[in-house]
């Protein structure tokens, strides 16, 4: 069991290292640099800028310096926001994304799993059709459409919620709906189908035959196994949602990490690209790790060192 966790953690760290490396070299392969402007800078100034940020060093030296910095959680200065450190910028932007993201995640978990279970238990009844109909609709409408239509109807036309920014509790409604729409529908469908699958299995029939109360069969025996695919999906989903979505933050004009990543790429702000990617990757890797830990609780075979076959 100990080996299992050690192995998982090692591979998580390795993945993180790999992501940082790939991003670093890909980013430098993007044409243009942080100081490429429409108007050519005088060569001396450009040279001075490059020296100031060590951009004239060989790429491998830059890589080594950056990775050493990363080890001490120092992500360097931003190239485009003068005088600000990437760490500070992320600390500034991340909370906005995380706040909305966490609310969205809670909404998803609180709604999708019960709805999926109800839908599976009442298979082919009106409530199942209703839930599945809305869930199918949810996965077919892109988040940018949900976000714009919401902003248009409720903020512009009806004026019920503020159109831009996060000024009152009402302004969270739109971003949360737009962020959670797709995943909410997806998790509902996933819970339903995996619950149906599990309920068909022999051990459930055995449990019922043994006279175990129905709620116990459902929640102790069936749900536990039915949640495995859900947990697999939810882990990475949380990472993606709490680090912000470009579309949602752009449409509702929120000052979060999602918008910042895309602007950083556009501006070739190297350290900022690295910073956002590494932050996202770190959260992502931690979530995947948590998923693995969750597996080992749900499925004891994994803890005993047997390989999971998917």
């Amino acid at each position: 069991m100990k080996n299992y966790y050690v192995g998982r953690i090692t591979s998580a760290i390795f993945t993180l290292f790999l992501i940082a490396t790939i991003t670093f070299f890909m980013m430098h392969a993007i044409p243009g640099g942080p100081f490429t402007r429409e108007r050519q800078l005088p060569p001396e100034i450009e040279q001075a800028m490059l020296e100031r940020y060590h951009l004239d060093d060989p790429l491998l030296v830059q890589y080594k310096d950056y990775m050493l910095g990363l080890l001490t959680f120092d992500m360097g200065p931003s190239f485009r926001e003068r005088g600000r450190m990437v760490n500070d910028l992320i600390a500034l932007k991340f909370p906005t994304s995380a706040k909305i993201g966490l609310i969205a995640v809670l909404c998803i978990l609180a709604l999708a799993i019960p709805l999926g279970i109800i839908s599976a238990l009442k298979q082919n009844r009106p409530i199942d059709y209703l839930v599945m109909f809305s869930a199918t609709l949810g996965v077919t409408i892109p988040s940018f459409v949900i976000a714009t239509v919401f902003a248009y109807i409720f903020a512009v036309r009806l004026g019920w919620v503020p159109a831009l920014g996060l000024t009152s509790w009402k302004s969270y409604i739109g971003p949360v709906i737009a962020l959670s729409g797709y995943s909410l529908s997806f998790v509902t469908r996933l819970t339903r189908s995996s619950m149906l699958e599990v309920l068909r299995q022999d051990y459930i029939r055995t449990a019922r035959a043994n006279g175990i109360p129905e709620w116990k069969v459902l929640f102790k025996h069936a749900l536990k196994n039915a949640l495995i695919p859900v947990v697999t999906y939810v882990g990475p989903m949380i990472a993606a949602i709490i680090t912000g979505s470009f579309v949602v933050e752009k449409i509702f004009d929120l000052n979060g990490l999602g918008v910042y990543f895309v602007t950083a790429v556009e501006k070739r702000d190297y350290t900022m690209i690295m910073g956002t990617t590494v932050t996202y990757a770190a959260i992502y890797v931690v979530m995947v790790l948590l998923v693995d830990v969750a597996y080992s609780f749900i499925d004891p075979r994994i803890r005993l060192g047997k390989k999971r076959e998917d």
Binding site: P31, L137, I141, F144, V149, K250, V262, A281
Partner: protein, 395 residues
């Protein structure tokens, strides 16, 4: 009980009771079950229709996707027309451009604006040497008496304030965009681009995924271990970030860039699926027989393993296409996709954002197209999954 009560059954009757059923192959059976699933059939028909529209639609519309008519910008799909003289109808756009329009909705010429008075909120236009005055101040008036009046027109000293009727725009059924391009043609044309991207990207994914998974599964041992380790690592990388970085890195916003990007990134799921299938198939007798007869590994994969794993592969493919449509529209929406004047549904939606308040139909049509496509593929995919699932196969 007497013997006379019984009689011999004619032998032809006996035969009649014998159950005769033609044997069904896997695919025939799957098709039979798919046909019973009405939603899946609707999905299939919708996909065929969308494909036909994508291929032939732009050929049959009166306009091309890049043709701009600077006069007819932002005309709506439904026109409120006013009769200002006998047989003379006009339509005023939301930007107070005045058009001559026929009674059934064919859009005519834009009238020349001769005078604009912003303070008193009226505009005058010239038509055949006569003056038409459009008074749009009623919209801004708080007086409940004028609440039902949007505009008044004065032509040859006759004032018209009652809307004649609302007709559908015959010239541009989906209206025009901010550059005066026909939205319908652009949505049809967008279908071409979006579906091409999705289909080709899915095929690339399929090819890489199937080859990778099959080799990994068949080779087994160390090769399998290493190859699956790589898949694990790729799987633990947030892929959307790489799609964005790749798009910027290649820096040529063409069709191929986006196809290559999407195609090179999302094959991991397919590889896993195929490997799993191959693992369960490779120890079966027919594969062993083939191997024993000296069939090469490549041939074993293409002739024996893949045909037997085709069911799940097809299901996964039908689910991959809508995901690709989604990702493409997302990339185009954030400005990293297809560049103008080429249009995909994502770019159309993005273009519509600026004028959303006045012209929501410009967002509505491409969004509807995306939603219908997603829905159709989802229905078909769900249907195929049940139809091709061998556990649900009866007899």
């Amino acid at each position: 009980m007497r013997k006379e009560d019984f009689e011999f059954v004619d032998s032809s009757l006996k035969q009649d009771k014998e159950q005769i059923r033609t044997s069904l192959t896997y695919w025939k059976d799957a098709w039979r079950r798919l046909k019973q699933n009405r939603l899946a059939l609707v999905g299939l028909i919708a996909i065929i229709l969308i494909t036909l529209i994508a291929i032939f639609g732009p050929l049959f519309t009166a306009h091309t996707y890049r043709e701009q008519d600077n006069d007819k910008i932002n005309t709506t799909p439904a026109l409120d027309i006013y009769q200002i003289d006998d047989g003379l109808f006009v339509y005023v756009s939301r930007q107070y451009r005045l058009f001559i329009v026929s009674e059934d909705g064919v859009l005519g010429d834009l009238l020349v604006n001769t005078e604009t008075n912003v303070n008193l909120r009226y505009k005058t236009y010239e038509y055949n040497g006569e003056e038409i005055t459009l008074d749009y101040s009623y919209k801004f008036s708080d007086d409940p008496e004028y609440k039902d009046i949007d505009f008044t027109f004065t032509y040859k000293d006759v004032e018209t304030f009652e809307k004649h009727k609302t007709v559908l725009n015959k010239t541009y059924p989906f209206g025009t965009d901010q550059l005066g391009r026909d939205v319908m043609t652009r949505v049809f044309y967008g279908a071409r681009i979006s579906l091409t991207v999705a289909l080709v990207a899915t095929l690339v994914n399929l090819f890489i995924g199937v080859a990778y998974g099959a080799i990994s599964g068949l080779e087994g041992g160390k090769v399998d271990n290493t190859m699956m380790r790589i898949v694990d690592i790729i799987n633990s990388i947030p892929l959307l970030l790489y799609v964005i970085l790749l798009m910027v890195m290649i820096d040529n916003r063409g069709l191929w860039t986006i196809i290559i990007t999407l195609g090179s990134v999302y094959w991991v799921g397919m590889a896993r699926l195929v490997r799993g299938q191959v693992l369960s198939l490779k120890n079966q007798e027919f594969v062993l027989a083939a191997r024993m007869l000296g069939v090469s590994k490549g041939k074993t994969i293409t002739k024996h393993l893949i045909p037997n794993a085709l069911g799940p592969i097809i299901v996964s493919m039908t689910m991959m296409i809508p995901t690709a449509v989604f990702t493409e529209s997302f990339l185009s929406f954030i400005g990293l996709g297809i560049s103008a004047p080429t249009a995909s549904w994502g770019t159309l939606a993005n273009d519509a954002l600026g004028g959303l308040e006045l012209f929501p139909y410009q967002l509505f049509f491409p969004s509807l197209a995306i939603a219908i496509t997603m829905l159709a593929f989802n229905f078909l995919g769900d249907g195929l999954r049940t139809a091709l699932d061998p556990r649900l196969r009866k007899g």
